[in-house]
């Protein structure tokens, strides 16, 4: 649905790598061009009309994001991406707080960006990273979280939806349990915020990180949501222009309030402004409708894939548009090259989830990640290409 909104879909490709990045609707592209051609000034100046316009648009996006997540606008920080957001949370908020022996719970299916910042706290602060066990479907259950919590647990850092398994974690229940035990919850929303309704007040998570480019917005922009009282205590990693109120000497530095304090330097203005249009666009379609469409497409794909005897589906059960699988006996990358010859774009590899192999015993796979603009006929083409193993072997070189 809504295919006519996406100029990239006029190209001769079948794009099934939306988990890596999504395509951009024309309104987002137009908004980027509008900024560069109509009011290309810096933000936070406001001394002349076009700069005032920039501020209005820039802060307008912050309000739109806040409303989209049911947060307050001062709880929304613009970053360079989900990775940047997660690093700011780990280094700016938790590093000063964490003590040797404190435990951080993650899972083996997390993306590198939600693993390495926590490994750093282990290496530099003596914290201990532990893994919540995954069930037989590689899902996270509240019971397994409970089993891993000790009096030393300080942080639970998990994706709401993971990028290979695509399972939806019970974040709301985990937050409730965690908060009863004085544990902070950090949510990596990179794969969930673009595909389902996320309400931070309802979830009651402490922090949420995600990227604009995976949700039909521009590249180079991420969001860090944090509860206001927590953001107040997040040390800015970058100091510089735009985030200080005044300074005279090293002992006399006055910083601005959140969230501006956490956005040093000239921000990614064009992307922030264009992201406002992406949010408007998503709201117009409706997140529930998007989610419903993507789950329908997933089922449509699974029902066909499952009939191919030499295809091993890794995540048969998952309430998202992510399907990971392998063609028996053929290296995933070779299958991806074969599909590329027919202009089908899928991802092969470990998908940055490099410790997931400990649980699945599969070191690499093909991943199809669907978006609402994908069609039954695109899936039919994919399945038809995968339905002839001899053809794959013959044409994979």
């Amino acid at each position: 649905m809504n295919r006519e909104d996406f100029p990239m879909l006029e190209e001769d490709i079948i794009y099934l790598d939306n988990g890596a990045t999504s395509l951009k609707p024309k309104c987002v592209i137009d908004k980027t061009v509008e900024y560069y051609s109509k009011y290309s000034a810096n933000a936070h100046r406001g001394d002349y009309d076009i700069s005032y316009k920039v501020d209005q648009e820039y802060e307008g996006t912050r309000e739109k994001v806040a409303e989209f997540l049911n947060a307050d606008s001062e709880e929304i920080v613009f970053t360079s991406g989900a990775t940047d957001s997660l690093n700011m949370i780990a280094t700016g908020f938790f590093a000063p707080l964490i003590e040797a022996g404190d435990e951080i719970l993650i899972t083996t299916s997390e993306h590198a960006s939600n693993v390495l910042p926590w490994f750093r706290l282990q290496n530099e602060k003596g914290a201990i990273v532990k893994y919540i066990p995954l069930d037989s479907n590689y899902h996270v259950t509240l019971d397994n979280v409970k089993k891993m919590v000790t009096p030393n647990t300080k942080i639970i850092a998990i994706a709401e939806i993971t990028n290979v398994i695509g399972d939806v974690r019970p974040i709301k229940e985990i937050c409730k349990f965690a908060h009863e035990n004085n544990i902070f919850v950090v949510v990596d929303g990179a794969q969930s915020v673009p595909h389902k309704k996320v309400d931070v007040k309802d979830l009651d998570c402490d922090f949420l990180a995600f990227s604009a480019h995976k949700m039909y917005g521009p590249t180079g922009l991420g969001i860090l949501y944090g509860k206001k009282e927590l953001l107040e205590n997040l040390n800015p990693i970058n100091l510089g222009g735009g985030m200080n109120e005044s300074f005279d000497s090293p002992s006399e530095i006055l910083l601005k309030d959140i969230p501006t304090r956490l956005e040093a330097g000239t921000p990614n203005i064009a992307s922030v402004i264009a992201f406002g249009s992406a949010i408007d666009y998503l709201n117009k379609i409706g997140m529930d409708k998007i989610n419903e469409r993507e789950l329908y497409l997933r089922k449509y794909l699974i029902d066909k894939l499952i009939k191919i005897p030499y295809i091993d589906i890794i995540n048969l059960e998952a309430d998202s548009g992510i399907v990971s699988f392998n063609v028996e006996g053929i290296f995933s990358q070779d299958v991806a090259f074969y599909l590329n010859k027919y202009k089908v774009c899928v991802r092969a590899g470990n998908h940055c989830a490099k410790i997931l192999k400990n649980a699945t015993k599969v070191t690499n796979s093909l991943r199809v990640s669907l978006a609402f603009y994908n069609t039954e006929s695109e899936i039919d083409t994919l399945v038809e290409l995968l339905s002839n193993k001899d053809k794959i072997v013959k044409e994979m070189l």
Binding site: F331, F337, V393, L397
Partner: protein
Amino acid sequence: MDPEIKREIIMEHYQNPLHRHHVDDKSYDMVNTANSSCIDNLNIYIKYDGDVIKDIAFEGEACAISISSTSIMIENLIGKTREEALNIIDNFENMINEKEYSEDVLGNAVVYSDIYKQNSRKSCAFLPYRGLREALTKKDNGKS
């Protein structure tokens, strides 16, 4: 060379690669070679006899192009001197980058002469050569 014959040679070396096994022998040097843009990841083991490459073996996970290219490279390089080996690596690199190269030193590796047509596959074909060059140059510097 006929494209169908090229294909057959590549497939044969992919499905039945030569010298693919683990080496647990301290007299071998080991080098890891991996493509950052994908998941090809190989360990290559090399044993020298003075200046001559006496044996090479490899293990690891990679695509059909990388595996076959490694097998073909090993077949060609065993018995060569370091200098000859480095010359073969240079010529292979020139070939996949559409520069001038000497076909007669490459042996079966000429099956990749058209690989430049698939940009993303060039690094797969070159992967073992990159690793071996690193190992040979290290040896030259007396580091290993």
